[in-house]
Symmetry: C2
């Protein structure tokens, strides 16, 4: 009993399966892995599978990894992003795609905020751990200089393009997203569409402003008339909205729709609008950007906004990484040409057609 039970709970290895099935470990490996170019009699296969099942055999991935020189693990480095709201969706997208690809996702948060220089420490940590590839997700930068460590290995960027043009990347198409929501406003009948811009110079600031201008121009509208910039927070939204609403007191000159740089600004704008006795969306439509949880859905009324493709960036990044690892870059994606991912509009209740009937003067002008 002493001898027998001592090993009873021991880990069952391929050797145990082989013994149980009365075959060699070679054969066990072949049938369990469906090794190509290998024939095995049905009888043998069944015996092996039954034995493996019976013993609850789980191949040791460490041993397998050592042998085939691949850990089956990819690393995700998030740059201050784990703390950033809803960037959890990048992690979620990456993790779920990793599972689909039979990969394990490990993560490291980079404390450094390099703006343009990527922190090599996280990359090295993953390399020490035999990661098969690495994803570096930044808060939205334009260009980034990846460290040397990233150049020799399968790598992909999220939220920033590689300045050297060697590493593939995925970024949100903020410009097109912004343009699409002004298109939507135009289609709803709005002509005086204001933009509460951000005063901080980040790529998103430029992209969304450009998109606003695209949309206005496409509709034959003046892209300069109703633009005010302020800090990209609730307070800034309040200020920008106040300025935009107060330039023209008359309802027939006032914007009928307000596009805010982000949802937090929209939150502030809601207040400025309420203070002026105006109702959303009856008197004023407002839209945001980010689909930031829990703001967008919690506002009165719930905010129509454009969503960032966080989940998709995470998922696409690991799919692409897997492609590189197996050296078949997805869709022949060109390194250095970042892939822009669509930012879809999320329709809620803050948009309505303008109501000229309430201000008949507008039509007599």
């Amino acid at each position: 009993m002493k001898t027998g039970n001592r090993v009873a709970r021991k880990h069952v290895g391929i050797r145990d399966v082989a013994a149980a099935a009365g075959v060699s470990v070679t054969t066990v490996s072949h049938v369990l892995n469906d090794t190509p170019h290998t024939r095995t009699s049905d009888d043998t296969r069944n015996r092996v599978k039954a034995a493996a099942e019976e013993l609850g055999y789980q191949p040791n991935r460490l041993a397998r990894g050592l042998r085939i020189q691949a850990s089956g693990m990819v690393g995700l480095i998030t740059e201050e992003i784990a703390t950033t709201p809803h960037a959890g969706k990048i992690i979620l997208g990456a993790q779920e795609e990793a599972t689909r690809q039979n990969l394990m996702l490990a993560i490291i948060n980079s404390s450094l905020n390099p703006a343009v220089e990527i922190d090599p420490a996280g990359v090295r940590a993953f390399l020490d751990r035999q990661a098969d590839g690495v994803i570096y997700a930044t808060v939205y930068h334009d260009e980034v200089n990846p460290p040397e460590e990233m150049l020799g290995i399968p790598a992909v960027l999220i939220g920033a393009r590689d300045a050297r043009g060697e590493i593939p990347s995925f970024m949100p198409d903020e410009r097109a997203g912004a343009a699409s929501i002004v298109d939507m406003l135009v289609a709803a009948g709005h002509r005086r569409i204001a933009f509460a811009a951000s005063s901080v110079d980040v790529p998103a600031t430029r992209g969304r402003l450009l998109g606003y201008r695209d949309g206005m121009l496409a509709a034959g509208l003046d892209p300069d008339q109703f633009v005010a910039a302020a800090e990209g927070e609730a307070k800034g939204g309040y200020e920008a909205a106040a300025r935009l609403l107060d330039v023209a007191v008359g309802a027939d000159e006032r914007p009928t729709a307000l596009f805010c740089y982000n949802d937090r600004m929209a939150m502030g704008a809601y207040r400025a609008i309420a203070e002026r006795g105006l109702t959303i969306p009856a008197d004023m439509s407002v839209v945001g950007f980010d689909d930031q949880d829990p703001i967008a859905a919690s506002l009165f009324p719930p905010l129509t906004t454009v969503a960032l493709p966080h989940y998709e960036m995470g998922a696409r990044a690991v799919a692409e990484l897997m492609g590189i690892i197996e050296s078949r870059p997805e869709h022949g994606l060109l390194p250095g040409h970042p892939t822009l991912l669509a930012c879809p509009i999320v329709h809620r209740d803050s948009v309505a057609a303008p109501s000229p009937d309430k201000h008949p003067r507008a039509s007599t002008h």
Copy 2:
């Protein structure tokens, strides 16, 4: 050249270091790992270290793991939590503590929301990968029934206690947090402190209500007079606040402070208060719970609230896990007795002393 360069970029192993230093791999291993009970001459040590440095040697963790039967990786399973706002901080805390412990953190999101039964799939995935231990983080449940897979291995729970009482866990001390913020309100001079409770029956609902009552009772105040329950969202906060404010129209009977079940409800309460022409905090102090980003800081005025110890739960969980792995449970923590972590107050600008001077009648009553 052909022969020489072919292997130039090849991975450098312990054998290469041994050769370069003119010693055996045994010795290299001993000096690089500072193996206990092992003497090595300083001269040899230096040669080995220099050689390792020179060659840029990085031990292969897979090989090491296979040999010592420990992957150096721990798994974090998050139950729908990756999507949940600011739970990213659990991941962050776990990751940073893992790095401190020289562990790698891998994550899996559990799609299943079992309420009381934990999804074993994630646990199994980690076991297949030779994880040294597993952390399961739930959205706040009271008790949970871990699958058999978790029983035999180092494991810890976040946000829920093990019904069987075998797995250690960390949970926020919501009750004490709630009590502490009413204490604070009392200290600021408030006596009529209302509570906008949640109508959904989750542990947090009970804990926070209990804490409110503790605080009121401790101050000799009636814990039943000003309580209204509604959905734990902005809308519910609006409704509950409206009810609480309208019961007594007179300023001398109205609550002077409102404690909301969570920050989203506080967001709605802000609106109800503004609609009644009241100012925060001059006419009405309001506090929330969760310190939910970006609501709490974005409100006008910024909301004083109580924070959940997300980062700490993540960090403590991996520290405890490491203790179990090395079989020295931290502080002799008793399994089954969950460790309650403090929920600190985050002071912002939504609290002031009540202003009886504005309503002199109050003192003449």
